[in-house]
Symmetry: C2
Subunit: 212 residues, 2 copies
Amino acid sequence: MPKTISVQALQRLPTYLNYLKSLPLDKDAKISARALGNALGYGEIQVRKDLSAVSDGGKPKVGYCTAELIRDIEIFLGYDDVNDAVLVGAGKLGKALMSYEGFKTYGLNIVAAFDSDLAKCGTDESGKQVFPIDKMENLCKRLKVRIGIITVPASSAQQVCDILVEGGVEAIWNFAPTHLSVPEEVVLKNENMAASLAILSKHLSEKDWNCP
Amino acid sequence: MPKTISVQALQRLPTYLNYLKSLPLDKDAKISARALGNALGYGEIQVRKDLSAVSDGGKPKVGYCTAELIRDIEIFLGYDDVNDAVLVGAGKLGKALMSYEGFKTYGLNIVAAFDSDLAKCGTDESGKQVFPIDKMENLCKRLKVRIGIITVPASSAQQVCDILVEGGVEAIWNFAPTHLSVPEEVVLKNENMAASLAILSKHLSEKDWNCP
DNA sequence: TAGATTGTTAATCGATTAACAATC
DNA sequence: TAGATTGTTAATCGATTAACAATC
């Protein structure tokens, strides 16, 4: 039976992975839950609990084998098989994401981009093709693209989202600052920068209250 | 006494605000918790609880006054007074954020950017100045900059972060895919794209298990 | 063996949801 | 008044942490 994992724990896994990969490569290196937690600002109990969901476990008095841990997390997250994605909206943010090499490590492969502005179509600096948006549904179906990344303005995001769903996309990563409706079989993840900013902004305004 | 609000509720506030602002402007417009929730995919009880922390409240049988709600949320989040920010790392992502007009609505004002690459210094397309990074600490102090946005590679993020803290920055918004250590009086918010991707990737790989 | 470390079960904490009273 | 809607207290749910047993 597959162990259950909380959403939050799942989201911490890439952080562990990232840190483990940054360590000097040594086939037999071991790391304790405490050391791992200290490096990342997590408690050691939390680390053990998180890792228990993905790995066979460490050895008492020794710790976890870093190489195994890296492999286990990658397999658990599905980073071992590559997922093709399309990106919609070749503006500044879209281009930044298109040319970000780091996505490879997460098994994310942006195969093409789309934009409604024909002036933006053609080959991008990143070396990726930007197509007119009316080619999107068809291309998604033909290439069996599983992930759609939305970097268009809020006003056209829902429309773009609907086309992606129509094209058979199974997961949507939304950078537009707006709520999207998707059928329940499609997973939607909002990259909600406004939500992040809310935390910073509130914190600063509270400080002002305390020391005016 | 100020009402308490959960972190999650705080992060939902910009979503409410954004939706309310998208509605046709009408000084006396009212909206019910149910209508608001339906539009955003939240339950109506949650909406009422969230709003109770920021607003004087609605009227039974009538709902909330949208104009008041907008004002209350903006004040609560501190969007009414502007916070100056600097951005470090004028790469593609950095430039995308520098030229994003939408931050104004959140009271965020990027006053300058910094980069260690002198070739990137000068005036950016966004119209903002990019300075060499050794000017950063001083300029932050001089202008009393409160927010630092980090868009450098992971390898230099901690170093950049330390300089920002040294420069008196009170809040850090980190886009580098790495863990940062900050003193406890400084608030740190990670824009953790890898965490978002983990959710999508796991979902897709689970689907593969079920229908191979 | 003793001590360090893992792994799990139980307790706590925080957020969401349900039930219901209040009010226009 | 009756019905719709708000607001709050209590119950549930989920995630984190504490306590402790297991093991190398």
